[in-house]
Assembly symmetry: C2
Homo-oligomer: 347 residues x 2
């Protein structure tokens, strides 16, 4: 397979996130990606490539709003303009437009715009965030482009991750939705029916939000039950899509503590949905935080299980773009990710 | 006038709030109320009273949802149940249900419920918050009850403040909306048309949200323009009410830096609206953060100006409940508050 990795990813390295009422060190660290790269040196899976440049803005606008992209592109400079001393600090939002509040008027105040375009206080934005996120999106788009010209599998090995980023909001460590960008690129390249399968521990609330009213992209997510697990406010089983998209969203929430056999049964349900949809290509949002050793998650998959996950997904026999999402057991995330790829790419 | 002050207010004393990406000491401190009490000892304005007990739950439910009240009543115990070490920490939310996310399903997770019922990360909740907020609501209700039995003015001198608290959300240092509770109590006591006039520097987004679709309570707010001033996402001039309430909300946003003559002109516009509505009673949400020395606000009223504010409002000649809202120039807030009361109570 072709593997596009993000040479600028380490420019995004958040220091602190709000977690249960205090600021704690960020879980989403550059080492995560480096461990996957190291494992790929040990067990090569294909060509290791980097994108040439940031993507064209028009490709980002296919899934993100123009004003959101304008904000992200200028956010760091605005943050430092508020106070030069901010250059030494990550930016975090502190106020949000909840139910009944307006999102139609974009405030001039920087803190207000941080809140307008986000949903949590756990996603710091820093000097290199936009460059890293853009080059990550370029990886996802390059992977989709590779598949469009005949590559069977392509892996976008990038961070920050993407699946929590919505049409116009960041959160959950995500700014640009790499999986959604890849799915849209496949659609724009002429593939009529694209499925996004999200196997991250956390519900792909951003991806669901982007495609919720569309019938051309099926979104399926297996994740911790949002009644108890982050990001909480989407991901329930009764969210089936709306409008034209009714019937084209499938959530498979599982209780904290779910083990491999139960998880695998949900995977098979998900794969049946992808088959039933008649998908002609797949985007796999590959979070590895289902791992038993993940510090912020609650499923019990073991490293060897990811070999089987890859094999089960390979049985779909679909052209596939894989995006790297969560996975916070840093020392093990490389082995787990490459295990997932190994049999996925064997067919 | 009768003055009901909150004997439990100091049980709510937040330590830190999120402000521009960092945790800073809370601006909303117990000393604020004590300075007003001290000034009232120097310049007595009437009987200083305390409520006998927390209010009946049914009176709170007139403006707040049952599930929100259930949450507030149990929040501290739940926070400590998550981890006994939390007893030494204030609770702050970190994730919110923004546009497209669901608020209909109440999550089991405590952090999720904190986010579901709030709109910022600047409003810490602690062991004594519920007791303090309840007794504050009792002050507001006692003040309304006093007016209903013939008292011309009554002052609810309490904190935490209330005007940012909505039907089912806290934020902006507010948990229960004292002004809205007083207005509703006046309505329930048989007064047909009640006006709420909010002169705090910050838009009364909670009060507006509570009465936005009602024609029996006119809400008027003079405040910093939400394009640049907290709480940002409501308070624009084009918010006129909706449904039955269309035409019964008036926002008078003013730019940061507004001086007394301009502010007073807006006050006269507001008072004309109250007269035009035919209000039979008034609730004055009395924030003193319009003061030139306020550390987090941007208008330029001086201490002596509050004498005139009170006199101008007194000219309405309406039975009036006053609630104590913002004002963070702690050393001056007592003089400013009592200046406001002085001529308001002279007629
Ligand atoms: Zn995750
Ligand atoms: Zn205020």
């Amino acid at each position: 397979m072709k593997i596009f990795h993000n040479p600028l990813h380490a420019q995004h390295a958040g220091r602190q996130e709000m977690y249960r009422g205090r600021l704690v060190p960020c879980h989403e660290v550059p080492d995560r990606l480096d461990h996957v790269l190291n494992e790929l040196q040990r067990r090569p899976m294909g060509d290791l490539l980097t994108p040439n440049a940031a993507p064209e803005r028009s490709r980002l606008e296919r899934v993100h709003s123009a004003r959101y992209l304008d904000f992200l592109a200028s956010a760091w400079d605005q943050w430092v303009a508020v106070d030069p001393a901010n250059a030494a600090l990550d930016a975090l939002p502190s106020v949000w437009p909840v139910r009944g509040f307006r999102a139609d008027v974009e405030p001039e105040n920087f803190a207000a715009r941080m809140g307008l375009y986000s949903f949590d206080a756990g996603t710091p934005l820093m000097a290199g965030t936009w460059a890293a996120a853009q080059m990550g999106a370029a990886c996802a788009l390059a992977a989709a482009d590779a598949v469009l010209v005949g590559e069977r599998r392509a892996f976008a090995l990038t961070r920050p991750p993407g699946h929590h980023a919505g049409p116009d909001f960041f959160g959950g460590y995500c700014f640009l939705n790499n999986a959604a960008l890849a799915a849209q690129a496949l659609r724009d390249g002429g593939i009529e029916r694209v499925a996004v399968l999200d196997v991250d521990y956390h519900h792909g609330n951003g991806t669901q939000s982007i495609f919720y009213e569309r019938a051309d992209v099926l979104t399926v997510s297996i994740h911790g039950d949002p009644r108890t697990e982050y990001p909480f406010f989407l991901g329930h089983a009764d969210e089936l899509g709306a409008g034209d998209g009714a019937g084209f969203n499938l959530n498979l929430p599982l209780p904290r503590g779910t083990d491999w056999p139960t998880w695998r049964a949900a995977l098979h349900t998900a794969l049946d949905a992808v088959r039933g949809f008649g998908a002609q290509a797949l985007v796999l949002a590959a979070g590895l935080d289902t791992f038993e050793g993940d510090p912020i998650s609650g499923f019990h998959l073991r490293s060897a299980d990811y070999l089987q996950v890859g094999a089960d997904i390979a049985a779909l026999d679909l052209p596939t773009v894989i995006t790297f999402e969560g996975g916070y057991a840093v020392a093990e995330v490389g082995v787990n990710a490459v295990n997932l790829l190994q049999d996925l790419d064997a067919t």
